[in-house]
């Protein structure tokens, strides 16, 4: 208590000094920091694929280009699905922090359904492209397109299975500290996927369809 009283006498610097004098940071902060570093390494991996797409996007080898292939209405719906699933994921996190389990389940059910809708739309786009003879082996442009967008889709798939696992764990173990930390990490992952989708939408679809 004396330490707390000591820091209270230093207005302005109070919070900085307090976090230094209270010893190690809370587990929750440390876990989120570690997971944030993982996410940044994941984003760096994506940046390599973004670079290769940017280099190869003009190399269509006489095949179809993005202008003839991409349907922006379709892509717009995908974007909305992902954006709203990010939002409901955040709402679910708020609900579990306030121990409102029912709200949490509803929010994460929406997150799952919206994420699965996104994945279904992306798969239908991929099968449509392959059926039109524009598969990944057609040109360097399409190879780069399928690896970049496909890797994002693979991340969404992994996220959806993680979501099911975490909801089952919450049901079995209740909203304990470690469960809530895992849910925090999941929400960071899901929001980061949305950030990657923003870059993907702009570089691949909006610039490619012009």
């Amino acid at each position: 208590m004396s330490a707390a009283a000591g820091t209270a006498q230093l207005p302005g610097l109070g919070s900085t000094l307090a976090s230094g004098s209270e010893g190690p940071a809370p587990v929750r902060i440390v876990v989120a920091y570690g997971f944030w570093i993982f996410l940044l390494s994941d984003i760096i991996m994506f940046s390599a694929l973004f670079a290769s797409y940017a280099v190869l996007s003009g190399q269509t080898a006489g095949g179809p280009s993005g202008r003839t292939l991409f349907e922006l209405r379709h892509v717009g719906i995908e974007t909305l699905c992902l954006l709203f699933s990010s939002y409901t994921c955040g709402l679910g996190l708020l609900a579990i922090e306030r121990r409102r389990l029912r709200d949490f389940y509803i929010a994460f059910a929406f997150t799952f359904v919206l994420g699965a809708t996104f994945l279904g739309l992306e798969l239908s786009e991929f099968t449509g492209l392959v059926a039109r003879g524009a598969g990944p082996s057609r040109s360097a442009f399409l190879s780069a397109f399928f690896s970049l967008v496909g890797l994002h889709g693979a991340h969404v798939t992994a996220g959806l299975s993680w979501l099911i696992f975490l909801v089952a764990q919450t049901a079995a173990r209740g909203p304990r500290d470690f469960v809530r930390r895992r849910l925090l990490c999941f929400s960071l992952f899901w929001h980061a996927l949305d950030i990657i989708w923003v870059a993907l939408l702009t570089l691949v679809y909006l610039m490619g369809a012009r």
Partner: protein, 127 residues
């Protein structure tokens, strides 16, 4: 309050019930509104002639970066608070590496492309 659990060396997060790093309902809703606005603007810019045509890629890039910023602040809660210094530094390093990879690849490949013989000429030389 100063009790340490045997399981973890760091203090447990009993006091994080105030929703420290997980934001608020208004935060998420404002973030969603901004994101929707910026996404709509991106589609508008790319589909109409509102912007001078050669400037459209730059406009789209600006909108995308703005939206990424909105996601970082409102959804991932990257802020300038004292708890967040490490996160911001890691982000800055990540941005540096991403910029090096992307701009470096584009620069090198454009240079190679400009200096390389056409494929037909190479075939001619190998004959």
């Amino acid at each position: 309050m100063e009790e340490r659990t045997a399981e973890h060396a760091a203090p447990s997060d009993e006091r994080s019930g105030e929703g420290e790093p997980s934001g608020s309902l208004t935060g998420y809703t404002v973030g969603l509104a901004f994101a929707l606005l910026l996404t709509g603007a991106s589609f508008l810019v790319s589909q109409t002639d509102l912007l001078w045509a050669p400037g459209v890629p730059a406009g789209l890039a600006v909108l995308a970066v703005a939206q990424m910023g909105v996601h970082l602040v409102f959804f991932l809660h990257i802020s300038t608070g004292p708890d967040n210094t490490n996160n911001v530094l890691a982000l800055a390093f990540g941005v540096l590496i991403v910029a090096l990879i992307v701009s470096g690849s584009l620069w090198i490949m454009a240079n190679l492309n400009a200096n390389m013989l056409p494929a037909s000429a190479i075939m001619e030389m190998q004959r």
